[in-house]
Amino acid sequence: MSVRQSLLVLLDAGPMHGYGLKTEFEAATGDVWPLNVGQVYTTLARLERDGLVSTETDTDGQKVYAVTEAGRDEVRRWFETPVAREVAPRQELAIKLVFAMRSPSADVADVVQRQRVATMRSLQEVTRLKADAEADGDLAWLLMLDALVFQAEAEARWLDMCEARLARELGERRERGTPPPRADTPAPQPIAERSS
């Protein structure tokens, strides 16, 4: 899962405390991916070490985290790179789309299309392997490749569904004259407003 980049997206909307990031992350993903607080602070420490976030201490002595310019670059890179089928757990894609909807640095339709092209390419590769396997009469390998094909197809169909939903949502918002879609949860408020 891409907790790292997701936290950066949340911080892009304004500086936050570690605990606030945990609750925002869980709300954004519909509580499907609970985070433990330890994981959030470990991740934040690594982000700080890598220069992607900076910290300040507020009046209560609590650490407040803010995204740096390098952190924003990291977010942009994340949205521009399709999720690799072989290495990353599939959930990363769902998380990426959820956060693309609330990030000003991402065009969700582009994220979906980029992923579709990547999925199509890996499908083409597997299909070539299948044609070879068929010629060689390698049945076991063929069954394995079939499994990969149908998994990729499932992802592609899900992407179609995402795109259709987004198009509908955008159309409705345009009619109502409201801004482009964001996640259902309210955007995180800047720390200054919260403490007042």
Binding site: Q113, R116, V117, T119, M120, R121, L123, Q124, E125, V126, T127, R128, A131, E134, V149, F150, A152, E153, A156, R157, D160, E163, A164
Partner: protein
């Protein structure tokens, strides 16, 4: 020279308030032996593109060239002849002749081209075998299942030395393994030098192609080609 080329082709239906831009400034080149798949949501212009490519409809702007000849420059008779000799259509709802057996249906286009009946039947039977229909070659269409009829129609479209095959969702009613047999057949035709343009919703089938073009709102939105393909196909780019 590409066998099929669309040069800034557009197709507009209706006028004024009822004006619908089905295809907008699309440029495509399909080489001999190339397998191209067209994907996109409903209403993105896939079928319109195929109709223009096959001379079944005319572009309202731009040109469609078959083997270097602008289809618009041909007389009706020349167009009919060019299409029958060079283009095979695999569209849904293309009916078989009910009074001919499956094999005779497939052999018919060859006989029209002057191939002797015995040789034509032999080619037809071979093709039916490659789509898993050897056992029903002598049945009449009325005694075939929907999927079998569809495969016979496909075999009829690809028989003979067509230079281009245009297929619109040819695997619609087929189960997975029959659908794959059809894709295999199209692939084999490519290996023999035929160009294939396949319109499909199904990514699994599009993956058989060398190149996949994504349409959106009548325009080419993106392309995908597998790594390791010809270098010129490797650059997914926006065509506008």
């Amino acid at each position: 020279m590409p066998i099929l080329e669309m040069d800034r082709a557009g197709r507009v239906f209706g006028s004024r308030e009822a004006r619908v831009v089905a295809l907008d400034d699309v440029s495509l080149r399909v080489e001999h032996g190339e397998f191209l798949a067209i994907m996109g949501p409903s209403g993105s212009g896939k079928s319109t593109l195929l109709h223009l490519a096959g001379g079944l409809d005319r572009p309202t702007s731009g040109r469609v060239l078959l083997n270097g000849r602008d289809l618009a420059s041909l007389s009706a008779a020349e167009l009919t002849l060019a299409l029958r000799r060079q283009v095979g259509f695999v569209f849904q709802g293309l009916n078989l002749l009910p009074t001919l057996t499956a094999a005779e249906n497939v052999a018919l286009p060859l006989e029209l081209d002057g191939v002797r009946p015995r040789a034509a039947m032999s080619s037809a039977t071979g093709l039916l075998e490659s789509v898993g229909l050897r056992s029903v070659a002598n049945r009449f269409p009325g005694r075939l299942s929907g999927g079998e009829r569809q495969r016979v129609a496909i075999a009829r479209a690809v028989v003979g030395g067509r230079a281009v095959l245009l297929a619109d969702e040819p695997t619609g009613a087929l189960d997975s393994i029959s659908g794959e047999a059809v894709m295999n057949l199209l692939r084999q035709r490519c290996a023999a030098g035929c160009a294939v343009v396949l319109v499909t919703h199904d990514m699994r089938h599009a993956a058989w192609a060398d190149r996949v073009v994504f349409l959106r709102d009548g325009r080419v939105a993106d392309e995908a080609a597998p790594p390791g393909g010809p270098e010129c196909l490797l650059q997914p780019g926006r065509v506008s």
